[in-house]
């Protein structure tokens, strides 16, 4: 309803989406050496997804699969080292050289962070949609 009343909101949210996506990806990968990380990326993504729902730009994300995926990723990364006898959550690192980016170093901690991100996105969406974001977007939901 807000959306139909206000093209400004729609336009603003659309612009914000791109910005937020870029920044979330940046924060996610930068996290290991600079401010950022999975939690920050999750918050940002979650907020922008809810805004899009409010503005009627997209169907609401279903939080349960997101939460489940995040939990499974985190748990698998945590437990996998135990399979070959290491302690739980032992890190495994790779270092490689990619085109454009140069030397890239990464580890299983990044995967673990991915799980955290998914869970935070799920939580934010569940929380804000609990307030009724879906109804706010109007009965037909998506109205582009």
């Amino acid at each position: 309803m807000i959306a139909r009343r206000s093209p400004i909101v729609q336009l603003g949210v659309r612009a914000a989406t791109t910005l937020a996506l870029v920044f979330a990806v940046f924060a996610f990968f930068a996290g290991h050496n600079r401010p950022g990380g999975g939690f920050a990326a999750g918050l940002l993504l979650g907020a922008v997804l809810v805004l899009r729902t409010v503005a009627g730009l997209s169907q609401p994300l279903r939080p349960v699969p997101t939460l489940a995926a995040g939990g499974i990723i985190a748990a698998v990364v945590a437990l996998l080292p135990m399979v070959w006898g290491d302690v739980a959550l032992d890190q495994f690192e790779v270092e490689t050289t990619l085109p454009l980016l140069g030397k890239v170093k990464s580890g299983t901690a990044l995967l673990f962070d991915l799980g955290v991100t998914a869970i935070v996105v799920g939580l934010v969406v569940a929380l804000l949609e609990g307030f009724g974001a879906e109804q706010l977007a109007g009965p037909q939901g998506r109205d582009e």
């Binding site: 996290g31 600079r34 401010p35 805004l51 901690a109 804000l128 949609e129 009724g132």
Partner: protein
Amino acid sequence: MIWLLLFHLAASAALMAVGDRLGRWSFAVAGAPMSVSAAVALEATITRRRVVDTYQWVEGLDLTMAVRLDAFTSLLLLLVSGIGVLICVYAAGYFAAGTVGVGRFAATLLAFSTAMAGLVVADTAWTLFVFWELTSITSFLLVGHKRTDAGARIAARRALVITASGGLALLAGFVALLDVAPGARLSELESVSGGWATAAAVLILVAAATKSAQVPFHVWLPGAMAAPTPVSAYLHSATMVKAGVVLVAVASPALGETGVWTPLGVAFGATSMIWGAVGALRQVDAKLIMAWGTVSQLGLMIALLSIGSAKATFAAVAIVVAHALFKAALFMVVGEIDVRTGTRDINELHGLRRSMPVAFVVTVIASASMAGVPPLLGFPAKEAAVEAALGLQGGERAVMLAIIIGGSILTVAYTTRFVLGVFGPSTDHSAGHSTAVAPARPMMAAPSVVLALATLGGFAALGWVTGIVRGASVVLDSKAEVYSLLRWPGLTDAFLISVGIVLVGAVVGTALAARLTGPAPRTLGADGVDTAIDQVVVLARIVAARVQHGSLPGYVLTIVGTAALAASPFLWSFDLGPVYGWDNLGQGVLAVFVAAAAIAATRVRTRLGAALVLGAIGFAVTGLFVAHGAPDLVLTQLLVETVVVVGFVVGLGRLTTTFPRIGGLWLSSRLAVSALAAGATAVALVASSGRLGMSPPANSVTHRLTEEAVDEGGGKNIVNVVLTDVRALDTLGEVIVLVVVAVGILALTRTRPDEGPEFEPDAEPDLVQPESDVLVVST
């Protein structure tokens, strides 16, 4: 050995999944692992093999799963698994084709058998405890198998509450025992004494008494007869109720020397032996006669084991074997009679001698064994018990002789009454020649015949049985090596006493058979237990209604108030010394702004205004972090503020635009708690900042974190390295909490008011016993 238990578990899980499609064939699947166990146990019994198998779970905490197979445990495992196989055959005959829930039943039965097998072979206290609790739970499921039957559910609940309370006593008892006998394997426990040992002795005996249905904890056992008869025959005669006996046997070497062990154990055993037999005499339901008889027989075993003399231990082991064989057979026959005639009331049953000849012969053999008549296995076992009592001194001798003679006379009496009532001619001549019976069910008859043959064969091969029983007793008490079960003891005192018992008992039983025809009294105390359980439920509802009142401001007030109180210890370390204004002027300006905005937040009347002011505070705090030089906090705070703004965008539309006016007590209590919280926060902040200015000591973890972040964690951002590597386990825990919170939110918000709650407290009258007036708590 552990693989065997795992095999059991896997089969049980598989049956749980597909059992209902297999129908009665699921008993074949359930019987397979039990057969393997029985074969392993038989092999170990014959070869006198000793196997110990361990699996260390947590190093350093002494949490080790250990199982052992020696002469004692292999004999018990043989009984548990062997009778289990027979029960599977029996159950396949008991359930009619196409009965619903047969697969579930078979799976639960197998799960129980797993728990029981684990319990008897357990060699550490924790292993035994875990399997002990598993038997309680599986027993609960089996007693309540007919889940639409309110009586069965109440009985199952009563059994669970009593046996699980005993489980708690067992846990406490083990804690006390391991405090004085630390880390020892159950098979290597040494005699201990002192206060903790006494506490352990009492708790472990109470646990054994709840499981083995000893007076006054016996009230669950008659109720548990609501279970299908295969369950009664397996759990409530041959196996689970023996768990208490096993526990007393295992703990006896350690706790036998404490002053309370023998008196308390004998007191439990003696009252149960007599009261159980009296109960059996008063029942008219054949299954209940057997159940009360079991209470009585278990009392004898507990009393003998807690006496602690080698001879008594030997006799107890012999009775455990004999009892498992004859009591399971009797239960099977009662179940067969029930299925084929439609009743278990011995006043209605008569003349089955002709129409059910096989059941009659089995009953005579099993009953005679129970009464201690030669040439059956029960005879030498009971002889051994009388001999053991005669071998004691002073008061113990008098008490044991009295309960064995008294209890045995009553046992013979109720056995006689049962056999006469069911198979003898009708007392009421107007009724027909004999009760009408449905066609024979060979699957039900065969297992009881096997058990009857075993009872006969046990006497025939008494030398072999003696060897096994002696081997098992020696594990518990090395002095038991010299005793034997005798086929013909000669005209000893014990033999004469036995003859006297059988004669007097038979006369009493025949005399009472004609007189005791009225309805049976209700189990004394059973209603009390149910009432107590119901009252606890009522109390829980009252407490829940008070605590979970549903007022959000109330919850917030409670949480904030508690947090404020939690900060009170900081008052003792309150020190204004190291407090100073600011590092740079920006912080001072921002702090003033935050304070002003906070005051404004309490003054605004509209919700949108409050949201704006709160946002301002949030961003000012972000500014404080910037001024302090904490980029990680800045980013996180900014993002949290963003999410909060989105939350307000979404949520404000559903609320009134202005705050509701409040006043009076509510306003003043809010103000009081707020003031308290503000004070507490200030105190806590000052107290915790007292350590500022000191640089961390040289060996502090702070230095190590800085040094090792790059090498170990692979990152330069220490905060994130801590989150994803150093303390990643904490993070894992935290994100799991987040998942739980999200699930909670979804559960709350997806319940639309028009759907209504799924659970209505008043809509469960079928859980309430019809004649009980306790649960009428409609509010």
